[in-house]
Symmetry: C2
Subunit: 315 residues, 2 copies
């Protein structure tokens, strides 16, 4: 169905502008007059969609339903005749765990080797923001007062916003279902290690249960101190058989999507469709929607619209 989204985007883009321009113009020849207070902003379309729509909620439920279904299947296949998982048996007995969902050091998108699981206990590793919780409080403030990202403001949010988040649709039921299967839920987030207690409180307030820093909650500052999550993923994978990864950013799955230095010849979008990577989406790797912020935004016209797919309306 085609409809009003374009009009809304236009209102957001130009709404305040029109009023200011009229106020400034006044009558020809008269000096500019002070602008009226700007009209209330419309909700940015990405926020309306992600936080307000049934469509985005359904996408999130779909990701979490897929995760429960996938992990349930892996656990069934890994049980022996007495119902024991590999983590409850001696190393080398059959059936084994599949390989971890975590790529091995040195893996490329073309090879995508994963870590072995041995007899480690099963876990699912998830990003936090816009993956496990929706940051309604922070984004409300940001939507009402659009301004450049400020790390200090975000830190104040980490410290003071624990009661202003909600769980992503489907997350509470999925966390409960997976834990009831004996799976440990682990959060790997770039929230700061300095705010571990408030971050655990936010997760608990959202209904996602208890998390322990260094065991089931990994933060920026832990392990190697980096923003890239491969180091923390490796530390988690040393303790758990990571059956699934979830996130809203490609970096929640592997750092190879965000190489240092100049942009790689093959774009990030194409990298998601390389053969061994393409098959992982929904099969161990679970993406959540987020058109509001992150590495998924910021492409220019040329990267977004190939030259041969451009159309000009000629009424």
């Amino acid at each position: 169905m085609r409809r009003a989204g374009v009009l809304l985007a236009l209102a957001v883009t130009l709404g305040g502008c029109t009023v200011q321009r009229q106020a400034l113009l006044g009558r020809p020849g008269t000096p500019p007059v002070a602008a009226d207070p700007p009209p209330p902003l419309a909700v940015p379309p990405g926020m309306a969609w992600l936080y307000g729509s049934g469509e985005a909620a359904a996408l999130s439920e779909q990701a979490y339903n897929g995760m429960v279904r996938y992990v349930g299947g892996v656990l069934s296949a890994a049980r022996d005749r007495r119902g024991r998982l590999p983590s409850q048996r001696k190393e080398g007995t059959l059936p084994r765990w599949p390989a971890s969902a975590v790529l091995a050091p040195g893996a490329t998108a073309a090879t995508a080797e994963t870590l072995p699981c041995g007899v480690l206990p099963p876990a699912v590793v998830l990003d936090m923001d816009e993956t496990a919780v929706l940051n309604l409080g922070y984004e409300y403030d940001d939507g009402q007062h659009p301004r450049e990202f400020d790390q200090k403001r975000w830190e104040r949010w980490e410290q003071g916003g624990a009661d202003k988040v909600v769980a992503v649709p489907g997350a509470v039921a999925a966390f409960r279902a997976l834990r009831s299967m004996g799976v440990t839920m682990v959060i790997n987030t770039n929230r700061s290690a300095a705010n571990a207690a408030q971050t655990a409180l936010a997760l608990s307030n959202a209904g996602l249960g208890a998390f322990t820093h260094g065991d089931t909650l990994f933060l920026k500052g832990d392990v190697d101190g980096r923003s890239g999550k491969d180091g923390r993923r490796a530390a988690i994978a040393a303790r758990y058989c990571v059956l699934a990864l979830a996130g809203d950013q490609l970096g929640d799955f592997a750092d190879l999507f965000n190489p240092p230095g100049p942009a790689p010849a093959i774009g990030r979008r194409m990298l998601t469709a390389v053969a061994p990577i393409e098959g992982r989406w929904g099969n161990g790797w679970f993406m959540l929607p987020n058109p509001i912020y992150g590495t998924g935004l910021g492409t220019g016209w040329d990267e977004t619209f190939p030259q041969d797919k451009r159309w000009s309306d000629t009424p």
Copy 2:
């Protein structure tokens, strides 16, 4: 990871405005001067994300991978010992098809009864725009010249844009895989029946194969002439066992999400999480992302941000 999305949104919102304002102001006391040509617009964030990001591509691959996995599982479970599907056997023999993914007439979100499948041949029914194909050409024009939706412009796009679309990531491989399993792919779109040939050409150009109006391609104007798709879904379900539905709008799954008259007491977002509906996402119903247009946009502040989840930064 937190980042530059907010800044981008701000640039989109205010970018052109600043330049116009400076040009209009001139020096105090001087009459307004003509504005310079506006600077190039930034790509609207929703378009950058949906058409340019690896994150959105991964979400689409995930939906299509989930569809292939789900339908493959249903087909396996429905085969008899000789490998024959219910549609290749006499009515009443076991195992049967599961019920259709199409809700029965009179079903509500709370009951969600579905149609029986009998011995009909298997099909998957998908919306077209931003579900099977990405309308790069149209949205490029719209992004470059933001303006209110115009049905006549959209019709010119239906008639002349068949070579300016691409398949949604994952769709080509999924259509191929499902057809190789003996599943008929059916498109149910609100593009106009008058443009059936150009619409079939667009699908073919995108690599999605051949579609026949009235058999595998259902358009607005067909069956009951309505925008609501329940009538067409019923007509398709009279010929096929619809194992899965896919779309980017809730109306692609059931008209009950879009009741006529005043908005229902329970919001569309909550309706997606009612028990029998919640379990369908990823299990027969497959949602594709679209934060650019549609029924998922347009909520106001109060519907998007509950009062008790609002936060104000106090530096």
